[in-house]
């Protein structure tokens, strides 16, 4: 079934948003409400319900985020649930955390999508962070269904380099072409901020909510 039809017929009304002190929790909640999806802020790993999809937000430094996820037990629980089939979407730093590691830190990532985040190396006319609206190209499937345009808001200094092309869901040009969305089975990543990207982000989140 098409995702749009699935969204309209959906049985899941609840998205779990991981609250570990790193990310735009408020804006994700606001946008989910706007598209008619309830969200629950999850403060403890044991509160996670395998039957509801999960969003892992993230703003800030890689090691800081991983440390919090590890110490709170979220890392192990997320790995368990994602491997068990629960849809998981990592946003911005949350996407980079899905990988094996990052040049920004020394801790291991969640290792749900093989790959590593690297610092942008760009010509001088491209400021870092990459901040502003940009297009996601080569993205005709999955999360990007039914989008009039794939236009999203980005803020980041590191970008994800997957181990295999199979994990690429979308790419973006900013001086270089980099991977802006990834996917491995039920695990998804968006380098941009759908919760800050008008109707394009709304549609993407609707698609994610319909995936299960």
């Amino acid at each position: 079934m098409e995702l749009a039809a699935k969204f309209n017929a959906r049985k899941i009304l609840m998205i779990q948003v991981i609250n570990y002190g790193m990310g735009n929790i408020g804006s994700i909640k606001n946008m989910l409400k706007k598209i008619g999806v309830d969200s629950q802020l999850i403060n403890k790993a044991e509160e996670l319900d395998p039957s509801n999809s999960i969003i892992l937000p993230g703003v800030g430094a890689f090691d800081n985020a991983m440390r919090r996820l590890n110490e709170s037990g979220f890392s192990a629980r997320l790995q368990e649930l994602a491997t068990g089939g629960t849809p998981l979407l990592g946003i911005c730093l949350g996407m980079q955390l899905l990988g094996d590691a990052s040049e920004e830190g020394s801790l291991e990532g969640l290792k749900l999508i093989p790959g590593k985040s690297r610092k942008f190396v760009l010509e001088a006319d491209h400021k870092i962070p990459h901040m502003g609206w940009n297009k996601v190209i080569n993205s005709n499937s999955g999360l990007f269904q039914d989008l009039e345009e794939s236009k999203f808001y980005f803020v980041h200094s590191y970008h994800f380099v997957p181990e295999k092309g199979d994990y690429i869901l979308g790419e973006t040009n900013y001086g270089i072409k980099f991977v802006s969305s990834i996917n491995n089975a039920n695990v998804y990543g968006a380098q941009f901020h759908p919760e800050k990207s008008h109707k394009y982000g709304m549609q993407l989140l609707k698609n994610f909510c319909a995936i299960k």
């Binding site: 929790i25 606001n30 703003v59 400021k127 901040m131 502003g132 901020h193 919760e195 008008h198």
Partner: protein
């Protein structure tokens, strides 16, 4: 693709929106929530809200209003006005506003800037610098809240803000505010060339040509404006407006 953000700056005063001239003569231009709905429809790049009363009245942000604003905004959003503590900064982030804008507080509490950047990363902390020509043509940092301003040039101050962790700088010319006859391009260029963080031009925009000038000649990373997006026509009739996405996609190329 390099994108240049075009950002309406909306001034909050007594619960409504106003627009000033040279930081004076506030004129009521409407209701914030109504304006947001229009800017949502126009798919605005980003919005900035500044509470111009808070610091003057020595009070903190109006969180009830900020929650209403954030719940309607589905684009990047910055807020400034009356922020003096890290707790306020955290509370602003938790409402769904991802950029805090610090202004007069950094004159004597620059540590708040460092703490906010450590908390959420530099990209979430913006410093806005208001500046004005003083006697003998010297340009000085200006304080709307009548605080003691730093004894250094605008450039030196901008560099210090960058060094302390600001992720972005809004450079606002008091002399150009509300005049709609163009940005202070020389100053924008002088600051942009010396800084690595994005500089947002503000003060004086009256039309698309001014936006282009700030980017091409001023090397601004983003352009902000008030009057241009809330007034229409020679008599400045209040009309919330924003260039079409089609138009915006062509003007900077």
């Amino acid at each position: 693709m390099i994108s240049y953000r075009v950002i309406p700056v909306l001034l909050l005063s007594e619960g409504g929106l106003v627009k000033t001239e040279k930081f004076k003569k506030p004129v009521y231009v409407g209701d914030p929530i109504n304006a947001i709905r229009i800017f949502n429809d126009k798919e605005v790049d980003e919005l900035v809200f500044l509470d111009i009363d808070a610091s003057k009245e020595n009070r903190g942000p109006d969180f009830t209003l900020l929650e209403q604003i954030a719940s309607e905004c589905f684009m990047p959003l910055g807020y400034g006005g009356g922020i003096t503590t890290l707790d306020q900064v955290k509370r602003i982030y938790s409402t769904g506003i991802e950029k805090v804008i610090l202004n007069s507080v950094v004159f004597d509490k620059p540590k708040l800037l460092e703490d906010a950047a450590a908390e959420a990363g530099s990209q979430s902390v913006v410093v806005s610098i208001d500046y004005k020509k003083a006697l003998f043509g010297k340009t000085k940092v200006y304080s709307h809240a009548k605080r003691k301003t730093p004894n250094m040039s605008v450039l030196e101050f901008a560099k210090e803000m960058e060094a302390r962790g600001a992720g972005e700088l809004i450079l606002n010319s008091v002399d150009q505010d509300g005049l709609m006859n163009g940005y202070d391009v020389d100053m924008i260029a002088a600051i942009s060339e010396e800084l690595t963080i994005p500089v947002v031009a503000c003060g004086g925009a009256g039309g698309i040509d001014h936006l282009i000038e700030a980017v091409k000649k001023g090397k601004a990373s983003a352009v902000a404006a008030g009057s241009m997006f809330v007034f229409h026509g020679p008599h400045k009739a209040v009309l919330i407006n924003y260039p079409s996405q089609e138009k915006l996609s062509t003007i900077f190329s």
